[in-house]
Symmetry: C2
Subunit: 336 residues, 2 copies
Amino acid sequence: MGSDSDIVLSSRIRLARNINGYRFPNAMGSEEAKKVINECSGSILEGNSTLANSFHLIEMSKLSSVDRTAMVESHLVSPVLIDNYENSAVLLNDDKTVSIMINEEDHIRLQVIFPGLQLDGAYELADKIDDVIEERVDYAYNQKFGYLTACPTNIGTGMRASIMIHLPALTMTRNMNGILNAVTQVGLTIRGIYGEESDAQGNIYQISNQITLGLSEEEIISNLTAVTKQIIDKERAARKWLTKSNANALEDTVWRSLGVLQNARILSNGECLNLLSNVRFGIEVGIIDSIDLLTLNELMINTQPATLSKIEGQEVTESSVDIKRAEYVREELKKR
Amino acid sequence: MGSDSDIVLSSRIRLARNINGYRFPNAMGSEEAKKVINECSGSILEGNSTLANSFHLIEMSKLSSVDRTAMVESHLVSPVLIDNYENSAVLLNDDKTVSIMINEEDHIRLQVIFPGLQLDGAYELADKIDDVIEERVDYAYNQKFGYLTACPTNIGTGMRASIMIHLPALTMTRNMNGILNAVTQVGLTIRGIYGEESDAQGNIYQISNQITLGLSEEEIISNLTAVTKQIIDKERAARKWLTKSNANALEDTVWRSLGVLQNARILSNGECLNLLSNVRFGIEVGIIDSIDLLTLNELMINTQPATLSKIEGQEVTESSVDIKRAEYVREELKKR
């Protein structure tokens, strides 16, 4: 599970790589794009490593618009990959912890997502897969600048490490502004996963490194892990305070949120995320024990519009999406 | 049940009577008060009518402060009777439809409450009991002014007829101001049972006659019944509109309200009444069928502070009343 999984939802390592001899995706035609897809996917699917059997290739152009958006909602691919869907593809492994995007902003965007706080573990796997690809692919690499990338902000290690973290207690105690400022000052970026930074729906934030050049991968990971641990400590202290000094109000918020999720007939995405955040908090601090965090993770993704359409087996229109979302949440919570 | 019991909670007839030879309660001493109590209660308890067996006398001074307030919350006695508790009493019948207050503002305040819209039936019983009392008691009566009362606004018939009515749809469609004005213009009074008139908590209103002199009892009742029926029609039209044009929003409101009642850990009196109103509405229009209106009526009264204290078996402090109320509501709804 990774450590601190009551606060950290997931750890992600993303490596940006490009191949010598091809233009960057934003400048290439469809023929060239096809060659890049073939070369990249071949390095995994036709390689000697055991990875070959656990990956499969999905060409974005073969998917419906809803299916593509649903993959973004599940954090399996990025919006940029979708924008370039005519020329892009993704290699996914069976348990969906690894996604190798081809012809995103760079030729290759290798992404590993692990639950909880385990950036080291995620990097270890990413590094291993990176080596497998490099056996067959000639990476664009410069002695001075490291891995060359389409955007200079990714140059050097080409690595972006990030964690997704649930901070309801720091939000309820109005400490998030201080956290936002502090994180930014140590060269990291923090933003709400849903909604605006300052009004993050669901109280879920992503913290990632801003700098990719001049630091080693290990330094980036150790910096981010250290800062994350400090935030975890602050969140734990805030949770302790809330559960001690404000137990009734906290329980009231948590149980009401569950009651609304179990009963509402109309649920906007934003309200749903905030209610799920409160229930998640309730589970994390032991107020609710009839629902587990995996269910909450599923609900968070499955209530996103495109994923909801996939589940319903038909495109959910904008006028009915809040009704369908409420229906889906009720049915899922009834099962528990 | 009386008619229109999905909208009209209850019909009430109250007769004010005084006895010749005694001063009004606000001017009498305790000796005189005792005589009035004896004379009034004797007329029922020692009379020849079959009423004798179904009534019992409760002296207000023998009750604890909590018990007295709980009787007000149950609409069995008035706040004025409680204010004068050292010298007042009440005769209650077994099913609590009849309450004869002694030494309230007048010597006798005879009150009959029936469920639904049945002012005629309530008056018939009140009139019958009035006759029984009059067999032994010499009422203060004047050929020109009718029954003499402590306050001139009650002179004449001494009758106040009122109905308690639940108007959620007229409230939701913002039609209550028009109703409030119209009712006042035809010589009737309308007020919220809980909270202020313009912001009636629980959307429950009392409509009663303002005039007691110059109209016969039958005219008063027929006026009030006619106006009530008009309001019932308007409420029905608003309910129809809401259930047709706004079904999802209405169901959402109703079910969320039930969800909060079933889950909240802190419930103020005002919020509780409003949520109960929404659930009652849901039952009345057939959205909810697992709970009945009697349960709702009980919850409305039993969540009032003094009644809650009686149920808990100890005085509920102001700091804990919202927590105890939430606890009580959860447990009661779990039973259904």
